[in-house]
């Protein structure tokens, strides 16, 4: 009953979307504010309506209503409550509904803002119409092509249970994060379309939507990191990133949204690159839409699965329509999007931002071509060529390294025109530091030239970014007599966007250190012949002693778990460091085996062990051992990136004394 009510609410939400779009456009045409407000309200109520729909499905999941096909598909009597709740996004139908919920939350938030105070009311009807149409499209998919509320005539006694791979905290938070990242990017897109529709030449849309882009970007970042962590903890191949299409798709969007966050600054500060920014926002949205279509339509598996799926052609038709509308709007408004200024010099902040933008886009293109090549090759030649990690590593690596370098140079360059001498002077200390780091690493045994150079690059950018803080803090300490912590906090408070951004840069560098460490110094091996009970084997700095296997109770009683025990000791002095328990889960119902690694070692060197197999009840067993140096820096870097986002996003109210120095004449502050 409640479930059917939820179904009805989703139908109403779909109708509300259509109404909102129609009435808003009509209101804009007739200049009738009552119609516009009515459309705004209709768009707003989609959120409570879709929420009601989700509650209905949750009710069915919690009460084991296996009459609902979706419930029988993703849960069973043995599925614990927590996973019955997260099963809402455990398969296609439910996850589209959940996607609609998050998207409608962004729609409601945009509708609820104070448009009068923000001063961008003329944009309202078009923002409403754009958002309502996009949300309406996804509700259409949910209702007509992938309905989670469909009932079966003969309800089964028990369901199939949640996909075992999805039972990890990372996998539970990861989809909501990615969805929030994707759907959050709808807001800047809607503002951009509204600005073009109203033929505005100012950057009102940009200012209004910049913070929303940042929110979308942060969720996307968090989603990517959680996905990487999940892959590392659950999939059992020792890595964190496999260049799988479902990973590449959010990465491509991230690689387009990130340059936009930078080039938006050029428009705000210099009034340039207007048409470029419009292009980037449209591309970001299109990449999000294409990626979603790609994953959801079966195109991922093969061209034939795509043709056979109901959703695929609808998605592609919608994508073509969106691209055509975008292109038409963009081209017809090129005259109003002219730059207010010329580029004075390539050696300037805006010049280097342009190079950065281009590099980001070519990296995104690289990932894109590698991701769709299997499908292209299948369509053209009939054979589906697999593109493995070596291609992506070799092609994106140099481009990403160049971006790390730009991150260390761009902050030094002034807007307009920078002076070579000044920039060179400021580079001296960080370059010196980078050389010291490289010498230190060389002396401690790192002899390969490429990683050595890359570590030097990271050290340079790290030092340069820190210097930005050092300079600002030092100036405050000297001129305002503030103590170090106060000066640091006030500095960040005075310009949260800038110093939050630098914190994100620091995070990226730390992450890069982890990627380089794992990529160049990581290695793995398998024990052959299999290890006998109580025998030892050595990998790198570690000796492992096999102490047998045993069956253990499975977490949710729907699998058979076999656990091995290994003692880890130091290869040099024999000291016992740890006892580890890699295990295998076998799920008879889903015919699936999961190899769950055991992780040991230190912060800087992770030891990752997988139980590869065993014979004669554990008389012998074999193990796959991965040594992952510096991999933990990736997670730390990710956390720093998100902290940086918080610093730049969170509006900290300034207290009165903080204003005082601004009143001072500039000359008085100088010593």
């Amino acid at each position: 009953m409640l479930t059917d009510l939820g179904h009805l609410a989703v139908i109403f939400a779909f109708v509300a979307c259509l109404y909102a779009a129609l009435v808003s456009l009509l209101g804009a045409q007739r200049n009738d504010d009552r119609l516009v407000q009515s459309g705004r309200l209709a768009a707003f109520i989609t959120f409570p309506l879709v929420l009601l729909g989700c509650l209905g499905l949750w009710y069915a999941l919690l009460t084991h209503d296996f009459g609902v096909k979706y419930v029988a598909n993703v849960s069973s009597l043995a599925t614990p409550v927590f996973f019955r709740i997260t099963a809402l996004w455990g398969a296609q139908e439910g996850s589209i509904l959940f996607w609609c919920l998050i998207m409608s939350a962004f729609v409601a938030a945009a509708m609820a803002r104070d448009w009068e105070a923000a001063g961008d009311k003329p944009l309202l009807p078009y923002v409403t119409a754009t958002m309502a149409l996009v949300l309406g499209f996804f509700l259409f998919l949910e209702l007509f092509l992938a309905n989670a509320f469909v009932r079966s005539e003969f309800p089964p006694q028990d369901g199939r249970g949640l996909n075992p791979l999805l039972r990890h905290p990372g996998m539970i938070i990861h989809p909501p994060m990615l969805y929030a990242g994707y759907t959050g990017l709808l807001v800047p897109f809607a503002f951009c379309i509204a600005s073009l529709a109203t033929r505005r030449s100012d950057d009102l849309w940009l200012r209004s939507s910049r913070r929303w882009t940042l929110v979308g970007w942060a969720f996307l970042t968090a989603g990517l990191l959680l996905g990487a962590r999940w892959a590392h903890d659950v999939l059992g191949w020792g890595g964190y990133w496999g260049w799988d299409p479902s990973e590449n798709k959010p990465l491509i969007t991230w690689l387009i949204a990130t340059p936009f966050l930078h080039s938006a600054m050029i428009q705000e500060k210099r009034g340039m690159f207007k048409n470029w920014n419009v292009f980037l926002v449209m591309l970001t949205f299109a990449s999000m839409f294409f990626g979603t279509a790609f994953i959801r339509s079966g195109l991922l598996t093969s061209v034939h699965a795509f043709a056979a799926s109901d959703i695929g052609p609808v998605f592609m038709a919608a994508l073509v329509i969106i691209l055509l509308i975008c292109a038409a709007l963009w081209i017809s408004r090129l005259d109003v999007l002219r730059s207010e200024r010329q580029l004075d010099s390539a050696f300037s902040r805006e010049g280097i931002f342009l190079v950065q933008n281009v590099l980001f886009l070519s990296t995104a293109f690289t990932v894109f071509i590698g991701t769709i090549f299997p499908i292209l090759s299948e369509a053209i030649s009939g054979t589906k060529i697999t593109v493995g990690p070596p291609f992506f590593d070799q092609t994106t690596g140099p481009q990403l390294a160049a971006l790390v370098l730009l991150m260390g140079v761009a902050p030094l360059l002034a807007w307009g025109k920078a002076s070579y001498a000044a920039v060179g002077r400021q580079m001296l200390a960080p370059v010196g530091f980078a050389l010291l780091v490289m010498v230190a690493l060389f002396l401690s045994g790192a002899r390969q030239p490429v990683p050595l150079l890359l570590f030097g690059l990271c050290a340079y950018t790290l030092a340069q970014t820190l210097m930005e803080y050092v300079r600002g803090v030092r100036a405050r300490m000297l001129s305002l007599n503030e103590r170090l912590p106060v000066a640091l906090i006030r500095l960040a408070q005075k310009n949260q966007r800038r110093y939050g951004g630098y914190l994100v840069h620091l995070g990226v560098v730390l992450l890069a250190i982890g990627v380089i460490g794992k990529g160049f110094y990581g290695y793995d091996t398998i024990t052959t012949p299999a290890v006998k009970l109580n025998d030892s084997f050595t990998v790198g700095n570690y000796t492992f002693t096999y102490r047998g296997i045993r069956p253990v109770p499975c977490e949710f009683n729907d699998c058979q778990t076999v656990q091995a025990m290994l003692l880890v000791s130091s290869a040099s002095d024999g000291r016992v460091l740890d006892a580890i328990f890699p295990y295998r889960d076998h799920y008879p119902l889903q015919q699936h085996t999961a190899t769950i690694p055991a992780i040991s070692g230190s912060f800087n060197e992770e030891v990752y062990v997988i139980l590869a197999g065993w014979d004669n009840n554990g008389a012998t067993a074999s193990f796959q051992v991965y040594i992952n140096p510096l991999i933990n820096w990736i997670w730390v870097g990710g956390i720093v990136m998100l902290l940086g986002f918080l610093v730049s996003f969170w509006k900290v109210p300034e207290r009165a004394p903080a204003f005082a120095p601004v009143m001072r004449p500039a000359g008085a502050a100088a010593k």
């Binding site: 025109k417 000044a422 002077r425 045994g445 050290a459 005075k494 100088a670």
Partner: protein, 157 residues
């Protein structure tokens, strides 16, 4: 200015030194040749994973095949060539840089070159055109306090 930058460098160096221990004396265990070759092949059953990392039955048969060929005296290249002949280039983790996969490798390089060339052209053309805009002193004009700070810092250098 110099003093604080030296301090910052030294403290960072210490951190690097402390974390540099991992680079010391790493001797990988003797590589199992079958495993090495399996790492370079795609698994027929685990989508997107290499043969060595996939635990399925089919993969075990493939690994046995590799081992049998190695035991028969074939070199690693010969084993890889055998798999490529039998299953086509799609069996390799790293697509060959020739043949049908050549465009795949060319595309990213081409894109980077073309994109950068366009950006260079745009910069060159706009730099040629029109009078220069009012010179900027390299500060964030929107924040007088930061502007004052930066001028001061530059004066101090």
């Amino acid at each position: 200015m110099m003093k604080s930058s030296i301090c910052a460098c030294i403290s960072l160096l210490l951190v690097t030194w402390l974390t540099a221990g991992w680079a010391q004396a790493q001797v990988p265990a003797p590589d199992e040749p079958t495993y090495r070759i399996a790492k370079q092949l795609n698994c027929p059953t685990c989508a997107g994973r290499n043969l060595a990392d996939c635990p399925t039955e089919t993969c075990a048969q493939w690994k046995a095949e590799i081992k049998a060929q190695l035991d028969a005296g074939k070199s690693a290249e010969e084993v890889l060539a055998y798999f490529q002949d039998r299953f086509g280039p799609t069996v390799l983790q790293e697509p060959p840089k020739s043949g049908i996969t050549a465009p795949l490798w060319a595309a990213p390089v081409g894109a980077a070159v073309v994109f950068l060339a366009i950006a260079g052209l745009v910069m060159w053309r706009t730099a040629q055109r029109g009078a220069p805009s009012p010179a900027s002193d390299g500060t964030d004009a929107h924040d007088p306090f930061v502007a004052a700070l930066e001028r001061e810092v530059r004066a101090g250098e």
